[in-house]
């Protein structure tokens, strides 16, 4: 019985994190973007600096009518948001934020594989949405999504493999436990490649070709309204949380801080992840959208060779020091 209670509690905590952290990232994005563009952003909802703006947005979305286009493939159209969102919830389960059993939803033996495999499934949601909408723009968005995933899955896997080689384990808590400070310069190229490929997989600017609003309206999500559209947005922000958490755990040493990993280690994890989330927003404000051919070229001619070089470097250093 105690076991069941323990599992239920962990699931509950992960679920609460899943519901709140994306909202926090979203609100931060509102404010950071506004200030970078010389605006104030939302100021009224909830009183203090518009903190309740996203809650109000959620209420608005829930009140809207749920429309399915007449020509659409009804069931797949309705199923797609769930397929897009659920993988991120599963991934959150496996990301450790502190040392010990208590600070991770569920220790997965082959953590890296689990996380990358399940994250890849989320893209199926966009593909299903793009196809089932019976809309040319949606279909184009779906196509671009697929092409983007195929290009960027490989560098992500390769750089994750480089960290796994360095740590000698594929378990996420194991990798952070093996972390030393000099891994940061050693794995720097891998970290950048992983982060960029992750951004592309989430379709965040400057890699938001699949939802390029000036070309194809809103890509795969054009026909969606109300709660289902909100679920796609939530999936994007949950994706940011997952990507920043993963980059922190794999490349930035998770709960290791300047004063050791004891006690407040989880604060370090959250701080590093929050910093990365800020960088994600910063990039969105700074860079214009890449063209489709530039996007493919960046992956195949730059990121993949870089990640292969990183693997070679990791292997050489590993052999030299052992």
């Amino acid at each position: 019985m105690n076991d069941a209670l323990d599992v239920a509690l962990r699931l509950l905590v992960v679920f609460v994190v899943f519901l709140t952290f994306p909202l926090i990232v979203g609100q931060t994005e509102h404010k950071v973007m506004a200030h970078m563009q010389g605006r104030l952003g939302p100021m009224y909802a909830g009183g203090f600096h518009g903190w309740a703006q996203l809650v109000a947005d959620g209420v608005k979305f829930a009140q809207k009518e749920d429309i399915v286009p007449a020509g659409a493939d009804r069931r797949i159209f309705q199923l797609a948001p769930a397929v897009a969102l659920l993988p991120y919830l599963l991934v959150l389960l496996a990301i450790p934020i502190g040392p010990g059993e208590g600070a991770v939803g569920q220790v997965v033996d082959a953590g890296i594989f689990f996380v990358l495999a399940v994250m890849g499934v989320g893209v199926l949601g966009s593909l299903m949405a793009g196809w089932a909408s019976a809309n040319k723009f949606s279909l184009l968005g779906g196509l671009r999504t697929a092409a983007q995933l195929l290009a960027y899955e490989l560098p992500m896997l390769l750089t994750a493999a480089s960290v796994a080689m360095a740590a000698g384990t594929v378990s996420l808590p194991g990798i952070v436990a093996a972390f030393e400070w000099w891994w940061v310069p050693w794995q720097l190229v891998g970290a950048v490649v992983f982060f960029v490929a992750g951004l592309a997989e989430l379709q965040r600017p400057p890699f938001d070709m699949p939802v390029a609003d000036s070309e194809i309206i809103f890509g795969a999500y054009t026909e969606y309204t109300g709660l289902r559209f909100a679920l796609f947005l939530l999936a994007e922000y949950a994706g940011i949380v997952v990507l920043c958490g993963l980059t922190t755990v794999l490349f930035l040493g998770g709960w290791h801080g300047p004063w050791g990993a004891d006690g407040l280690g989880w604060v370090w994890t959250l701080l590093k992840a929050a910093l990365l989330a800020f960088v994600v927003i910063w990039l969105r404000v700074t860079y214009p959208r890449l063209r489709e051919d530039q996007l493919q070229k960046l992956s195949w001619t730059l990121l993949i060779p870089l990640s292969l070089a990183q693997i070679a470097l990791t292997g050489i250093v590993k052999v030299v020091i052992s």
Partner: protein, 217 residues
């Protein structure tokens, strides 16, 4: 929900099953295995019988995912995640990409049926029979020790792969490399043809090129 917990439970259950359960008193894991197997089988059948192309691809996701769950229930965690990563995450996405790029109508495609249905069924049954026969024949007298670490964990899989099966592994990687190089060569050749389309395609072009060659000779 917590899949690794399920795996661990499965490992525990199978070890205790050997001790406390008889041949025909199945444990929860065994029942789950059967049920997931039925779902997987059903999804596979629908994949090849449905008349809607994209639905077939999505049912294939279901079948491959069901297979991954079966691996998990057999405590082969590593294989399960690789199955999801490669098949659900990449192969099906590639498949859907191809479908959307060429022909993906919403609704039924009357021409989705092949006349080779019975031949295909025969080949499938023969392949399944051969696989089952090989596996049964290979592992008939093998005893699996359930007491140690779960035999499907990453560590055990890796050790076995790189200690006992290095040669097949390397042979496979060379095969994949050959396929990769082949793909690049094919795509480059197509590109070269595309730049001089009329010249290479027509007999006149071939003629003129031959005369050129003779001229240089």
């Amino acid at each position: 929900m917590s899949l690794a917990a399920a795996t661990a439970a499965a490992a525990r259950a199978t070890t205790t099953a050997a001790e406390s359960h008889g041949f025909l008193s199945p444990t929860g894991v065994e029942i789950a295995f059967l049920l997931v197997g039925l779902v997987t089988f059903g999804a596979a059948i629908v994949t090849v019988t449905t008349k809607q192309l994209v639905h077939a691809a999505l049912w294939l996701v279901m079948a491959l995912g069901g297979l991954a769950v079966e691996y998990l229930l057999l405590t082969a965690e590593f294989i399960a995640w690789v199955q999801v990563l490669i098949y659900v995450g990449s192969v099906v996405v590639l498949l859907l990409f191809g479908l959307m790029l060429t022909k993906a109508p919403i609704g039924r495609s009357p021409d989705a049926d092949s006349g080779n249905r019975w031949v295909a069924l025969t080949v499938a049954v023969a392949a399944a029979a051969a696989l089952v026969w090989v596996v049964v024949d290979a592992f008939r007298t093998t005893w699996v020790d359930l007491k140690g670490p779960a035999a499907g964990s990453t560590e055990v899989t890796g050790a076995s792969l790189f200690q006992n099966w290095v040669l097949p592994f390397e042979a496979l990687s060379v095969l994949l490399l050959a396929a990769l190089v082949g793909a690049i060569v094919l795509s480059r050749k197509a590109k070269a043809d595309a730049t001089t389309p009329a010249d290479a395609a027509t007999p006149a072009g071939a003629q003129s090129r031959r005369s050129e060659k003779e001229g240089t000779r």
